[in-house]
Amino acid sequence: MTTMTTELAHESRLTRERRRWNVERIAVHAVLLAFVALALGPILIVILNSLKTTPAIFGGPFALPTAETFSLAGYERVLTRGNFLLNYRNSLIVTLASVVLTVGLSTLAAFALVEYRVRFVPLLAGLFIVGVMLPIRLGTIPLIQIMIGLKLMDTLWALILVYTAMSIPLGVTLMMTYFRTVPTELKEAARVDGASEFRTFSIILPLVRPGLAAVATVTMLPIWNDLWFPLILAPGKANQTVTLGVQQFVGQFLNDYPALLAALTLGALPLVVLFTIFSRQFIRGLSAGYGK
């Protein structure tokens, strides 16, 4: 795996060189810290103010909540009045189902595209690779008609199918790079032992585990955060995802700032936490998936 070896070389370079504090190093940290403040400041302001009373939000937006200004009323109202739990459930179902389908189907396809030297394989592989850049939203009008035809309009299945179709090209492209690194001897050994093709596939599956994680993390983000398809394919109250739910909530509770800020915080939290845990896999997946 080229990205992995370069990363290792890079890390050994980092630890080999002993560093002292000098002007250059301080300057680099100062610039990076300034950008971190710019990136995280606005998010922290929202989280901070979501824990305060309305007068305190406008009286001192940058003050920390104190004993008098601290309030969880916003969260209470969001959880009781909004459809937040339902939205969460919908987003969770859609994201998980799409990611599982994408990872599963892409892995099977990528294995075959790397493994079998049949005449149409380069063409097929190319078809998937081109799809990484395909602006699938532009097919929305026929998608609406297809979903109506399949009686899937305004269901979570409509979203799951579209998101899976949207993510498969990136999944296949990424998994192909991982399958290429599996030594041929291993597969041949399995086949000599009389393993079926599917058995061979499952024997080498553990070797491409980092790829599975990369595909899962990279595809999860745009699905969870998408606004376009929930708005068009599943706008009904019962099927709204978190992103659409927050959007509608913002429209309805225009003046209830504590509730708004609480809704934003709750909407953002799951992915920020997930990303922080899996940032390594995510970044590897992003650069390897589009970089081909």
Binding site: L32, A39, E115, P135, L138, P142, A268
Partner: protein, 294 residues
């Protein structure tokens, strides 16, 4: 060895599920969209009208004015992203890989990427709140003025997505061979010289790729503008980009009747534009860059 017959059968079984979903829900809708743009659905049924929808889109006074305006705005939206987001991403990637950081590198990388994990609904609201005259940080209605509305929205997008070019260029930069950099350093080259003289020419293909991806993403843009303005096109249509124009055309809005065929026409125009720019880029530029850096 695998027998050819086994290989063909297995290929089919392994690839078919992924291929079916991908073709059925991504490729086919795009193709149908192109097909639809050649028809007109009226009270008397559907009729083939050739390029009639295109002529209407490009020449009907009101519709074409909106279309060219959205196209022009979209180029501005793209230009601001390229001019601000990519240089900052490059700066951050260069600082992260410049050799002055040790353990903190990964932490910075993660923290700087966090805004890109938020949904646009959240980003839009955060910034609308911060630039709200009520909070007193900015005394001017940036989103209410037709000169500042689009640049303001673009900069919100830049704030959110600057982590993406950063990560791309970061991955390219750490792949630059160490010995080349070491040799230059021993020769007494400054970090500035090493970056522009050695590293940057080597990552040019990835730099070009992120520009073209930004083109595709910004011409697919919709969410942030919609999150801030709904499908309303902003003051005097100043924040109307192709995505919002497309949405209003097929979905309809106040004062505009939904028109599916015309919507499909708009989609096909956007698709053709992306295809031409991307193809031109790969044929003319990327091949040469790859040849140079190889």
């Amino acid at each position: 060895m695998i027998r050819p017959a086994t290989a063909r059968r297995s290929l089919l079984i392994f690839v078919l599920p992924a291929l079916a979903i991908y073709l059925g829900f991504a490729v086919l809708p795009l193709l149908i969209s192109i097909f639809m743009s050649l028809f007109d659905t009226g009270k008397s049924g559907t009729g083939f009208i050739g390029l009639g929808n295109y002529i209407y889109l490009f020449t009907q006074p009101v519709v074409s004015a909106r279309f060219w305006n959205a196209l022009f705005n979209n180029f501005k939206y793209f230009a601001i992203h390229v001019a601000v987001e990519i240089p900052i991403g490059l700066l951050l990637a260069a600082l992260l890989t410049g050799g002055t950081l040790s353990r903190s590198e990964g932490i910075y990388r993660t923290l700087l990427f966090i805004p890109a994990t938020l949904s646009v609904v959240i980003v839009g609201f955060i910034w609308r709140l911060i630039i709200n005259p009520l909070w007193g940080l900015v005394g001017f209605p940036l989103l209410g003025n037709q000169l500042t509305a689009l640049p303001t929205i673009s900069l919100m997008g830049v704030w959110q997505y600057v982590g993406i070019p950063m990560v791309f260029l970061y991955s390219a930069l750490i792949a630059v061979p160490n010995d080349v950099i070491e040799a230059a350093r021993i020769d007494g080259a400054s970090p500035w010289r090493i970056f522009w003289g050695i590293k940057f020419p080597l990552i040019l293909p990835q730099f070009g790729l992120i520009v073209i991806l930004t083109f595709i993403w910004t011409f697919n843009g919709f969410d942030l503008v919609f999150a801030l303005n709904g499908s309303a096109p902003g003051p005097n249509y100043s924040t109307d980009i192709l995505g919002t124009f497309f949405y209003r055309t097929f979905f309809g809005s106040s004062g505009q009747v939904a028109d599916l065929d015309l919507g499909a026409t708009v989609a096909t125009v956007i698709f053709t534009l992306m295809l031409c720019v991307t193809a031109a880029y790969f044929w003319l530029v990327q091949r040469r860059l790859k040849a140079h850096s190889a």
